[in-house]
Amino acid sequence: VENVRLLDRLSSRKAALGTLYLTATHVIFVENVSETRKETWVLHSQISSIEKQATTATGCPLLIRCKNFQVIQLVIPQERDCHDVYISLIRLARPVKYEELYCFSFNPKLDKEEREKGWSLVDLNDEYNRMGIPNSYWQISDVNRDYGVCDSYPTEVYVPKSATAHIIVGSSKFRSRRRFPALSYYCKDNNASICRSSQPLSGFSARCLEDEQMLQAIRKANPGSDFIYVVDTRPKLNAMANRAAGKGYENEDNYSNIKFQFIGIENIHVMRNSLQKMLEVCELKSPSMSDFLWGLENSGWLKHIKAIMDAGTFIAKAVAEEGVSVLVHCSDGWDRTAQVCSVASLLLDPYYRTVKGFMVLIEKDWISFGHKFNHRYGNLDGDPKEISPVIDQFIECVWQLMEQFPCAFEFNERFLIHVQHHIYSCQFGNFLCNSQKERRELKIQERTYSLWAHLWKNRADYLNPLYRSDHSQTRGTLHPQMAPCNFLYKFWSGMYNRFEKGLHPRQSVTDYLMAVKEETQQLEEELEVLGERLANLQKLQVNGNKVKSMQQDRSKHLGLSASNNSLANTPQEYSNDLKSFPSRSPSQGDEEDSALILTQDNLKSSDPDLSANSDQESGVEDLSCRSPSGGSCLPSEDSGKDSDEAVCLA
């Protein structure tokens, strides 16, 4: 469709005129401006909702909201065209078959071997081995090898040595969705463990010998403690209500040596509404501070984030400080349980704070344990009541921790944002379906590519320059500050206002420091080389030859500038009273914005998504780009890096 306008959310005056294209996998807007032909690409999988607004004099507005929080406002001149686009997008954004998804047509031009290697990058067996299992307390069980016991669990589960197949099967019958207690994390220093399950089908008075034995087995697997914690992550009221439906929670009287604890985290419906409300605040035009703070408070979002964090902290403390094992569950054990177990693991084990470790963590607690990616994130068209930002909340917890402990994580904010992006993008096969069983049936590994391989290849972009594995902040358990600490939770504008470049700090400290680090490393290597040469020459000198000592040219190297000082940033509209303040001519604004276009020379990155001439605008890419690796330019999650690319190396 031609003559479509793409509006800028913050500045109502700025609108780009161009052509709108719909393909099988993307919506693409290409600007008419001939020099740049800026493109905005949106994957259908990312589309969360489409809203057709009332026709105005200028045309028919269409609002596309994405799962990665991008909001695209288009104005289509003809009402009929707008309607066609609307209907098409509705269909395209709601696939009915997996084969319609992008991952089945995405082709990064790798051969079969490379594809397989990509999938084997993250291996959970290796991970449990790293934890020290199997050992005298824990073993691997193949009782679920054909998914016969629990179809949402993986084929390989880790259980206490004293848990026989009989006990496992019996326990699974007493658990919602048959999700019996299984190992999530084992601390080899003190044998304490984190296990996870779903709620017991205890009703008001039902008991199950095998389930009680299962919990005993978990306790026995930790000789250092004579009890275990059982943590129900639901609000007490909800858990009690479940009893009426024949489910519920563990009665301390029936299970020997357990200490039961509720840590109330709200359910998926509350979270879905919370996010919705928060996004409405983000969409306010020129909100006052009051509007914003009130809106944020009303959404309850940060309160929920803190609740998840508090639960994770409780469990981490139990394991690290008390040396007590914990069994965690919620209702079905695949949402709040996953969040809480992975937060706890992250706090406990520095490995999960590395790039590789984080991928392993998600593979373990989310992918293998049957988090319902399809239902939660809408790979396919489904029940809207199943949609909920569960993993988004976990990712935000990680970000909040990164803000509190800037030296403790090997990865940076961009890594988290890209992971979140791809959970929704369906460009890779890792986050499809609802369980390992379904993924294997669909032969995902043979037909799609692994995100982990892609991220790993580009890990240079995802590193935190302040991370040092030997830093005191990095080692050991993280202790997030407990009360009073409400103020420590910040609104994550990097995620929820990701595509509004004007909001973010204009200069990226992370990228600058990474560049400094790399340069320092290069210099150190050169220094070593020169040092060796010097040593050799000195040896010659000893033999009586007169040789001038090498002079190291230090000064020339550092032409490093923190920012390209020829780039200006533009003032926003500071006055509410627009009439009183004369508007700037549009050309002035455009000049500056075009000055923000990065040239390939300025950027030092191995990211194939990074296109030359990509603009600050989101998901924008140049058709003519070529990645450094020579492969085809991938439609990127955003322009590869975020706004603040005023970094340039001289």
Binding site: L10, C282, P287, S288, M289, D291, F292, L293, W294, L296, E297, G300, L302, K303, K306, P406, C407, A408, P465, L466, R468, H471, Q473, Q481, A483, P484, C485, N486, F487, L488, Y489, K490, F491, S493, G502, L503, H504, P505, R506, Q507, V509, Y512, L513, V516, T520, S561, A562, S563, N565, L567, A568, N569, P571, Q572, Y574, S575, S580, F581, P582, R584
Partner: protein
Amino acid sequence: MLRSGQPLTGPNRKRCHEDEMLLGSVLEERERGFVIDTRSAQAAKQARMTGGGTEPKSSYPQWKRLHQPLERGRPLQESFIKLVEACNDASLGMDRWLARLESCRWLSHVKAALSTACLAAQCVDREQASVLVHGAEGTDTTLLVTALAQVILDPACRTLAGFQGLLEREWIQAGHPFHLRCARSAYSHARLKQEAPLFLLFLDCVWQLSRQFPFSLEFGEGLLLTLFDNAYASNYGTFLCNNEKERCLCKVKESTHSLWAWLDQPEEKKKYLNPLYSPNPLAIWPSVEPQSIQLWQGLFFRWIRSSQYLDEAWAEMRRLVE
């Protein structure tokens, strides 16, 4: 950029030939200037009743007046006190924190101050127009705006030396009554009538700028905290008294030491330098969207929670850059 006090037009719309000539001389013929009045239109009008007022269009035809009300005086002090109370309230749950923060209105004041300073800066930089800033007395919000606008516009004001010069010029010599304004701070029970944290508001705005432009200021948060401390209680005479006249009468220069002299010593100076600093010759235009304005944790939670991890991060940054 000019600053002054309000014109004393009074209820009878007095005129002053010399004042009109003075302002007229600033502008070329047919050039236009802006007057940014930091009072609301209504407050400015009411000021006439007590002898003050605004520049009437008829007498100052080349000047266009913009009202950008900024909080000052008792309400600003109350805002400050409430915020400090909220920060110290350990019983406050997460479900009520933001509402409490909002009710203090401090962040709204930061947003308003930054917006007004940006507007003044835009007049000069974008519209190439002269701007006159005044409130009532010209000693509080006026100075906040002009000083902040210069940090936004002028890279020299963002250097350590330049910033000190800015403070000396736009706050101290311009006659901000430090003695009255920075008396007891937030914990005092004595609610002094003249006390108001304008200077703190300025420092907070500068901190916001440093957060949005981490490479553009030569100094770091430490300097801002030190300035905050010294404005209220100091070993040095720099912030004493209310104006130059009083300082002369009290013989401040003869009997005390200068804060700037102390800060300029090499061992002290390096504590306050920003390791990421890289001179930026351009104006820095902050975003004043609510998401971009954050609570200055380094100040308001300074004594409540450990800054250990952040300090370690800064130490690591210094190490990397050095």
